[in-house]
């Protein structure tokens, strides 16, 4: 972590990494603190343009973080160029926030971690809470001085799982968390007759995965649940332990980034990977094993 102080909010001190979250009140007081850059990442790419936290910059999961051609993230050159454009240095404290209970903010944070950016924090409650509290929003896009961000290798091995690794993980009966809705998990189709589907040819889940919809980790206001509640769900009810080798997945990796964040930073699990190929890869792949039903 950099020399930017941590948010002393009591709730955060319970978590394994107390500095991984900031509150809306803390952020409001630190908007002009040098060394901090606030990043908005949303599902709806226009939301930033409608108004955003003063001084924040936008990072779009698709148009900024994804490689424009292959299904992968940008490489070191692309990431360094993006950081330079956004005025982010290697030692900048980056505070992420976004819509949908921070799905995409957690996803962007995860991608920043793939590149080894150290000081990343999430705004508890995200855009929803900031807006609900009537805090200041602006349409003014800040002009930030370009930085020279170092070319940093993307290290996928610790935080990201590929399809081949998931296949091995299934064979070894490793722990897996499916964070999609119960209907997606069971394989029920929610589309109407004659309409195009979302693009997967099979419904269901990866055999052996435990269903823990991402939403269970969040309160209705978008904030994370307290430590005791989270432990009761993931450790008590699902039997996961902090040193388990865990892979989380959803449809394209955004909701599972939310759960990856919970397991890693709030519960202190040491070995959690996000399978960003997720169901949109697994459910389309030929001859991969699939389970259906609620269990």
């Amino acid at each position: 972590m950099s020399n930017i102080p941590l948010d002393p909010t009591a709730k955060f001190q319970e978590y394994a990494t107390p500095g991984a979250l900031v509150s809306t009140a803390w952020l409001a007081e630190n908007l002009n603190t040098p060394g901090i850059v606030v990043v908005e990442s949303d599902e709806d790419t226009l939301l930033y343009e409608t108004g955003h936290v003063p001084g924040s910059v936008k990072v779009d999961w698709h148009t900024d973080l994804n490689d424009p051609v292959s299904r992968d993230y940008v490489g070191p050159e692309g990431f360094a160029a993006l950081m330079s454009r956004k005025g982010i240095s290697r030692d900048t404290t980056v505070i992420f926030y976004g819509d949908k209970s921070n799905w995409w903010a957690a996803y962007a944070l995860w991608v920043f971690r793939l590149f080894g950016h150290t000081d990343v924090r999430l705004l508890d409650g995200g855009r929803q809470k900031w807006e609900a509290e009537g805090r200041e929003m602006t349409k003014e896009v800040p002009t930030r001085t370009a930085t020279s961000y170092p070319l940093s290798p993307r290290n996928d091995s610790e935080l990201r799982a590929y399809r081949e690794q998931v296949i091995e993980h299934v064979s070894a009966k490793g722990c897996m968390v499916d964070v999609r809705s119960p209907q997606e998990f069971s394989g029920e189709l929610t589309h109407m007759p004659d309409y195009p589907q979302e693009g997967t040819l099979r419904g269901g889940h990866i055999p052996g995965a435990k269903s823990v919809p991402w939403k269970r980790a969040a309160n209705d206001d978008g904030t994370f649940k307290g430590l005791a509640d989270l432990r009761a769900i993931y450790e008590g009810e699902k039997g996961l332990a902090a040193d388990d080798d865990v892979i989380a997945y959803c449809r394209i990796g955004e909701r599972s980034s939310h759960t990856w964040f919970v397991l890693t930073y709030l519960l202190g699990f040491t070995n959690v990977r996000n399978y960003d190929g997720s169901w949109s890869e697994w459910g389309n792949a030929v001859r991969l094993p699939i389970a259906v039903g609620a269990e």
């Binding site: 709806d44 226009l46 939301l47 779009d60 698709h62 424009p68 929610t190 004659d194 195009p196």
Partner: protein
């Protein structure tokens, strides 16, 4: 990624495509937001009873739409939350592009018309599913209205 020429779009959608083509790249999201702001308010009967409309399942955000056909003229009504401006823009563009056309004219619109507007790269192909889903549902409703 190249976009298909907009030659076969109906005039209203062709005007939208021209608008984006004539706008500098860095200004196009602003333009899309202007379209979002032009979404027409719902008539009272739909505002009071949203389930009279059809949910567009391809959109992750709750978009509801209905196409009315009266005197062989199509009118589209749609609503989506303020926090889903891209979805609102899609709905608004469909209103501007299709309202006032005859049923046959609406049914003749290519299913890929949303991909010809010059906004696919701007918002990403994945996000365009909502727009193509909306058009498909509008056309299905129009077809049901004129060929019961």
């Amino acid at each position: 990624m190249s976009e298909t020429p907009a030659a076969q779009l109906p005039p209203g959608l062709a005007a939208v495509a021209a608008d984006f083509a004539d706008t500098p790249r860095e200004m196009r999201l602003e333009l899309l937001l202007e379209y979002a702001d032009r979404l027409q308010p719902l008539p009272q009967k739909y505002a009071a009873q949203i389930d009279l409309m059809e949910r567009v399942q391809e959109c992750q955000s709750p978009l509801y739409a209905i196409a009315e056909v009266s005197n062989d003229t199509v009118q589209i009504h749609a609503t989506a939350p303020q926090e889903s401006p891209t979805t609102r823009a899609f709905a608004s563009i469909m209103q501007l592009g299709l309202n006032g056309l005859t049923a046959e004219e609406v049914l003749a619109v290519s299913a890929s018309a949303p991909l010809q507007l010059g906004i696919t790269d701007l918002v990403s192909p994945l996000r365009m599913r909502g727009a193509t889903g909306l058009l498909a549902r509008i056309q299905r409703q129009v077809r049901a209205a004129v060929r019961p």
